[in-house]
């Protein structure tokens, strides 16, 4: 039996932690950390219990508990939880990886005076993210969707005194606003068409029943694309990917939790959760698949020219998210979610490893200023290596299995996408090799880096174990028990492994001897500046905002100044004043004048009465 109370507890425990910290512990560091960790661990335990309950229930269950939150005659908005294996899997990722990162943060943020604020934000984020996972309708999901956006903004700009961090927070928020506008339009449109043959509804379960019966696929395609627009923003797909890399200004645990493992994956989860909407629309799916593939490839190329350890990982996240979106676009929510899960493990591991390095090197993030870290920080180094290999898709680590399912799916349906995916894995292996050889390889000449404390290395080991085992514990069978699972596609597996190993070998040949600066700067020729400038996306957006948008804004400001303020506001007050000035002439102060007016009035009334008779 599945107990929905566990889901409610999992949802509200982090919120309670956030409230308690904010109200009582904003000045005490250790208690705030402990409360936040207790909150997320409560969620984790509840999730595990739910997982066990669902695991022992056959066949797969879908349980909904919901109450009317806003109820009028024409509109009902519910607040509830919808528990199914997909949600539980995502919840396991969020709370499991989240717990590891919370514990890690206690070590990483130990020297920061505003650590309680950090944990309050982090708990708020956990609450919002769990809310997204459990939501049973679009409006509730949208609210939590905005809440993760808010906590992301707060956490990116956590070191708000640093202008670049504050700007990055604003950028992330604004870019997401652009996307969420489309998302909201999509939700409202979807609601308006859902009324056929019954009440209009936001509920996933009801929509899943009504949507397939609808004919108008033109309108449905629009809706699906608008909802996908929200995904493009949150999961940072081209062309709205620009915010994710700048978001690395936030503290590293934040990058690991929000901008690698969970929040950016919310878009993928949304697609999988509402896949009933996209399934019949093949044209939309194709668009989604190509956007995913383009993102995967572009981001992988950009990672090659990046020198900041966290930014490299951010590009890698972009690229892997692109692969997941591509899987969804190829009608494979199973493969997408599978990769999401394993990716959450090894990408969180990589970010936490990077954080450990940054912590040891006193906030040095440039990989060309790191050297021989494998010997100085063995735990960090070896777990980072495991994460790297898992990301590259080396057998038998988790990344191999999940990436391979996506590539096998692509090979079945679309050759172009398949080769794009394979090329991306080769590039992935190359830039990860570049990162690893440069930062961790080479001679140990500095020797001033020390291994991080246990509170940071234990989460690393935990995530490393998950990264190794993730492919072998039957995650896909749990998420979609009824789906057919193809055997390992041998040719695809061989080719992708070959591509990954090729990438690693090439990177070893170039970076294995640890050159003091990047040889690619000269070898890539004119391509290098293009990569360095991120394909000029930011430049074009900057130009657009600066010139076009600013021009429009100035025009509107002028219109407002002239028409609204001068004619509208001042015009109205002027008219009122003029009327008053005219009327007060009647106020002569002469009693007899009033008497005269009074008499004339009476005479007039008398006249009217008489003539009426």
């Amino acid at each position: 039996m599945v107990n929905p109370l566990l889901a409610w507890t999992a949802l509200f425990a982090p919120l309670a932690a956030c409230v308690i910290i904010t109200l009582f512990f904003l000045r005490s560091k250790t208690p705030s950390a402990l409360i936040a960790i207790a909150g997320i661990l409560t969620s984790f335990v509840c999730t595990v219990l739910l997982f066990l309950q669902i695991f022992h229930t056959h066949p797969a269950v879908e349980l909904q508990q919901s109450f009317a939150w806003i109820h009028t005659s024409t509109l009902t908005i519910d607040f509830g939880v919808l528990i199914n294996p997909l949600a539980i899997m995502m919840l396991m990722v969020v709370t499991g990886v989240g717990s590891a990162i919370f514990i890690y943060s206690k070590g990483y943020m130990a020297e920061d005076p505003s650590m309680p604020r950090f944990f309050a934000y982090l708990s708020l984020f956990a609450f919002s993210m769990i809310g997204i996972v459990l939501s049973n309708n679009f409006i509730q999901l949208f609210i939590f969707w905005e809440l993760v956006g808010l906590s992301s903004y707060l956490l990116i700009g956590f070191w708000y005194a640093k202008p670049s961090a504050a700007d990055a927070g604003v950028k992330a928020f604004v870019v997401n606003r652009v996307a969420d506008f489309g998302f909201l339009c999509g939700i409202i449109l979807l609601w308006s068409v859902s009324g056929v043959g019954g009440e209009r509804t936001f509920l996933f379960t009801d929509l899943a029943g009504t949507i397939p019966g609808l004919e108008n696929s033109q309108l449905l395609s629009t809706i699906a694309l608008l909802i996908f627009c929200g995904v493009v923003g949150k999961s940072a797909q081209v062309p709205l990917h620009v915010w994710l890399v700048d978001a690395m200004e936030g503290p590293t645990p934040v990058s690991a939790l929000i901008h690698a493992a969970t929040m950016v994956a919310a878009g993928i989860y949304l697609l999988a959760r509402t896949f009933f909407l996209f399934e019949p629309l093949t044209a939309v799916l194709t668009v989604i698949a190509y956007i995913g593939a383009i993102t995967a490839f572009l981001a992988a190329t950009l990672a090659i020219a990046e020198n900041d350890i966290k930014r490299i990982l951010a590009y890698s996240t972009l690229s892997q998210l692109g692969l997941m979106v591509m899987a969804l676009g190829l009608a494979g929510p199973l493969q997408g979610m599978y990769h999401l899960t394993t990716h959450a493990f090894f990408k969180a591991l990589l970010f936490l490893g990077a954080g450990s390095v940054i912590y040891a090197l006193h906030h040095e993030q440039n990989i060309w200023k790191m050297q021989g870290l494998l010997k100085q920080m063995p735990v960090t180094g070896w777990t980072f290596l495991i994460g790297t290999l898992a990301l590259c898709g080396i057998f038998p680590l988790s990344g191999f299995w999940s990436k391979d399912e996506i590539l096998a799916l692509a090979a079945e349906h679309n050759t172009v996408l398949y080769w794009a995916g394979t090329l991306t894995s080769c590039l992935t292996a190359f830039y990860m090799g570049r990162l690893f050889w440069t930062a961790f390889g080479g001679k140990d000449d500095h020797g001033h880096a020390h291994e991080s404390p246990a509170v940071m290395t234990i989460p690393l080991i935990f995530l490393a174990i998950l990264s190794i085992m993730g492919g072998l514990i039957g995650i896909p069978h749990f998420i979609y028990p009824e789906a057919a699972h193809p055997e390992l596609n041998m040719p695809v597996a061989m080719i992708s492994s070959g591509a990954a190993i090729l990438g690693l070998v090439v990177s070893y040949l170039i970076y294995g001897k640890r050159p003091s600066r990047d040889p690619l700067e000269t070898k890539l020729g004119f391509i290098y500046p293009v990569l360095k400038n991120k394909y000029y996306f930011d430049t074009v957006y900057g130009w657009y905002v600066d010139r076009v948008q600013q021009g429009v804004a100035i025009t509107f400001a002028w219109f407002e100044e002239v028409f609204i303020v001068r004619f509208g506001v001042h015009g109205l007050t002027g008219a009122a004043k003029a009327t008053g000035n005219a009327l007060r002439q009647l106020q002569t102060g002469l009693v007899q004048f009033y008497a005269l007016v009074f008499v004339l009035g009476v005479v007039y009334l008398f006249f009217v009465m008489v003539t009426r008779l």
């Binding site: 007060r584 002439q585 106020q587 002569t588 102060g589 002469l590 009693v591 007899q592 008497a595 005269l596 008499v599």
Partner: protein, 100 residues
């Protein structure tokens, strides 16, 4: 033969004189006097109607009017006295303080 119309006509003439007096007089005392004329005019029509309708209600009302008029004069004259003390004048058109 003097009929109701004559009384009404006389009453109207008296009333008009009163109105003109109220509007045109500069002295507050004269205004009060003109007011008495207005009341007298209405009293006259009340009595005339009463007589011609054979109903005493009109005459009854006249007593009330006389009573109220006496009170009004008392208060009015008191106001005039105070006004003279305060403004040293009883000319109505010199009191224009309540102007815009």
């Amino acid at each position: 033969m003097i009929g109701l119309g004559h009384y009404i006509l006389l009453s109207g003439i008296l009333f008009s004189i009163g109105v003109v007096g109220v509007i045109t007089s500069r002295s507050v005392l004269k205004i009060l006097l003109s007011l008495e004329l207005l009341l007298a005019a209405s009293n006259l029509s009340f009595v005339a109607f009463s007589k011609f309708n054979g109903d005493y209600t009109g005459q009854l009302i006249v007593f009330f009017v006389i009573l109220v008029a006496a009170a009004e004069v008392a208060i009015g004259l008191a106001i005039v006295v105070l006004m003279f003390r305060h403004f040293s004048t009883i000319q109505a058109d010199e009191l224009k303080d309540m102007k815009w």
